[in-house]
Amino acid sequence: MAEGLLRIENLKVYYYTRDGVARAVDNVGFSMRKGETVGVVGESGSGKSTLGLAILKLVPPPGRIVDGKMFFQTIDLTDLDEKEMQKIRGKEISMIFQDPTTSLSPLMKIGDHLIETIIAHERVTRREAEEKALSLLEDVGILPERFNDYPHQFSGGMRQRVGIALALALNPDLVIADEPTSSLDVIVQCQILDLMMKLKKLYDMGMILVTHDIGLVPEISDKIALMYAGQIVEFADINSFFEEPLHPYAEALLDSVPNIQLSDQKLRYITGNPPDLVNPPSGCRFNPRCPHAVKECREKEPPIIHPEPGRVVKCFRYEERSDED
């Protein structure tokens, strides 16, 4: 584990709501290496955002990390108290949020946002922090003359650039980006993703990209973790995943997304609705919507299977199924 950056084991994050316990993240595990990008993909309610927040121990109440281990390098994050976590946040692991409009203070100049973050964590003078802030802005493509502007004077794309600069300010080893481009139009989205890829190399960071848009993943990620109803149903290398998805949900999802490069595409659709996390279906959580489900799938939870090194699939029938095709 010399190269290990993050290893999550049996993580459980539950929300204790009035309607019952919602198992947003239920027994999730994966690991990533230094400098790697993992795309965490899922629909709304699949637990992908909760997973991202859990790594920084920012799950809002009534949510709680119930069980599991999260090793960041050699530290188990689950052991740390709030004070120790504050030293990790921003400095070692930072976050890019979906909507920079809400993650930036409207009363603070963007330069001051950066300076405050730098001074809070590093022993530097204001002068040095200012220089660092200016160079960060340059890296994300914002002109120095906008240093004293307020967030409302920026467009959505420019605000997200500020969000990225903030996430990079302390040179973290891991950045968690939660739907970083979902509130942006396609062209700006493309600019931001290009920027993120460039900076990831420049700063030599690992990244977790949380997104509902599976179309964004191939270009930017090395690995994919596909989530369904609080669980990772498939974890794989990008190329093998898109070449031959093993989990029936992965396959169905890929067949249901329109691809701009194809003509006369025939879309397949997934029947049924995403499950209720308070009362998930028994057995495999995808079984009511799965065309391959048998009795076993309805009764027992499928095990985590390693069909090849570095690949995980949570399905009883993946092998027989690939024989059927």
Binding site: M158, D185, H212, P218, F242, P258, Q261, L267, T271
Partner: protein, 325 residues
């Protein structure tokens, strides 16, 4: 031809404070839609695509006559529908219906699904009591809200996003209209349910002999569903034509950039990014000449001075660009 739009224009006055009004005589306008022309043939799916602020939604609302145009004319089946008010407008609504983007906002939370879907029948005096119920049940069946008994008496909060949008579709279709404006009908819906809604719309189109004006920001969806497409930028149509022409041989630099920015759910198909400078400018004072010129990689002197006309290249593939002649 079922719908013809001639020089359609909508300017929204920018809200000013009392003091501003006293001090200046000038009112600024958001030029949301600025002189667009297009025809829709019976039975086709005509898509309007573009980024936020391009005027696509305003166009849809103008056609359904939810808002009054500033200028221009709309013809529906040879009859001008730009000016009708009161009773005449109400009659028109029987023929032109709209499906809104957000099924969480477009259904009255205090109205049972059956009543919401049947309400238009009462408003138009077409069916009451048992007859109405019968028609609603048939419609619920058509959109796949089965068992109809359960959905008839359910309230919107008991339904998933996909089911709500089905109810909204049922409500739009119950009057047996000829023309449906669908404004981003799948963008608020879970990824795994989108394909199914598209499929349903396709199927109903054939069954009920409909014509769609499909408004979307997602070009991959537009490619999947439409026969013809118009690309809008800052209130203008920049390119329009049959789907195969626009997608396989895009001509306008904006269309080319837009297409190149879309994520592809396949790592083997690499996109070639066309870099565009900056973001969409404000529609309050749009750039002179061609509105795209400040961001256009091909812009020359003429582009900032003269507005390009939308000209036919061949077989109804229209482009508004000085560099394409």
């Amino acid at each position: 031809m079922i719908l013809k739009v001639v020089d359609l224009t909508k300017y929204f006055p920018v809200q000013q404070s009392f003091l501003e009004r006293l001090l200046s005589m000038r009112t600024d306008y958001v030029k949301a839609v600025d002189g667009i022309n297009f025809d829709v043939e019976k039975g086709e799916v005509f898509s309007i695509a573009g980024e936020s602020g391009c005027g696509k939604t305003t166009t849809g609302r103008l056609i359904v006559r939810l808002i009054e145009p500033t200028d221009g004319r709309i013809f529906f089946k040879q009859t001008e529908i730009t000016s009708p008010k009161g009773e005449e407008l109400r009659k028109l609504r029987k023929h032109i219906q709209i499906i809104f983007q957000n099924p969480y906002a477009s259904l009255n939370p205090q109205m049972k699904i059956g009543d919401a879907v049947g309400h238009p029948l009462e408003i138009h005096g077409m069916a009451f009591g048992k007859d109405r119920e019968q028609l609603v049940v048939e419609m619920l069946e058509k959109v796949g809200l089965q068992p109809t008994g359960k959905f008839y008496g359910a309230y919107p909060h008991e339904l998933s996003g996909g089911e709500r949008q089905r109810a909204a579709i049922a409500r739009a279709m119950i009057l047996n209209p000829d023309f449906i404006v669908a404004d981003e009908p799948i963008s608020m819906i879970d990824v795994s349910l989108r394909a199914k809604i598209l499929e349903l719309m396709n199927q109903l189109k054939h069954e009920l002999n409909l014509t769609y004006l499909f408004i979307t920001h997602d070009l991959a969806v537009a490619k999947y569903i439409s026969d013809k497409i118009a690309i809008m930028y800052l209130g203008k149509i920049v390119e329009m034509g049959r789907k195969d022409a626009v997608f396989s041989q895009p001509k306008h630099p904006y269309t080319i950039a837009l297409l190149s920015a879309i994520g592809i759910p396949n790592p083997k198909m690499k996109r070639k990014h066309v870099e565009l400078k900056g973001e969409v400018p404000s529609p309050i004072n749009p750039p002179s000449g061609c509105r795209f010129h400040p961001r256009c990689p091909m812009a020359t002197d003429i582009c900032s001075k003269v507005e390009p006309d939308l000209l036919d290249l061949k077989n109804g593939h229209l482009v508004a660009c000085h560099s394409i002649r």
